[in-house]
Symmetry: C2
Subunit: 118 residues, 2 copies
């Protein structure tokens, strides 16, 4: 894969909660996504969920008793596999996500965003 400028990739689309694959790494998808508002509660049984905030601020609500985690730009968090979570952003935020290749973003292929590469 060629080098990737994350801001340039993010400038190519506007939709929220529709990750774009910008590379692969050890059988994982490297993705950028724009988010705003509340996503759905979900979990991933077979992969941890890597979040790095590139711009803005997000809160990741969790059902595991640890409560909410709020992240600003330059902050990362890993939701462990199997933990129910619900990302939320009051204003638009930009993220780098990493998950096992092909993981449905809602935890369910029936409702997942299509996996698009840019």
């Amino acid at each position: 894969m060629p080098p990737v400028n994350l801001a340039e990739k993010l400038a190519t689309f506007d939709e929220h909660w529709q990750p774009r694959v910008i590379g692969t790494f050890n059988h994982h998808d490297l993705m950028v996504v724009k988010v705003k508002g509340e996503f759905v509660w979900h979990s991933h049984a077979h992969t941890d969920d890597f979040f790095l905030v590139l711009k803005g601020r997000i809160t990741i609500r969790m059902h595991d008793g640890d409560g909410d985690v709020t992240l600003g730009a330059g902050e990362l968090f890993v939701v462990p596999r199997g933990v129910e979570h619900c990302p939320y952003a009051e204003e638009e935020a930009h993220l780098l996500l990493i998950e096992t290749a092909g993981t449905p973003n809602t935890g369910d292929v029936a409702t997942a965003a299509p996996r698009r590469t840019i």
Copy 2:
């Protein structure tokens, strides 16, 4: 793991080419590192090598015929497993690295930096 502020972690040390583990993700180490000057030519047989530049600029020289890749802040690149490479930074640069847990940074346990968690 708790949320990680990358700049705060980087502020806790000064050495170059001495990665610090700041979290784990799907059996990978998430690391921050400060680099300056030239590293050693090396390869990793069993893991791709993820580089995201957080500050500054690096060049990754490669022996696979593709030549050099230069990355600035907000740019990422994955060196495929098995590809000989030599990172170089004229001025100090700060990076997020991801590799399979325990991978020696020089490709050789005899010469690798100790794997330290902060």
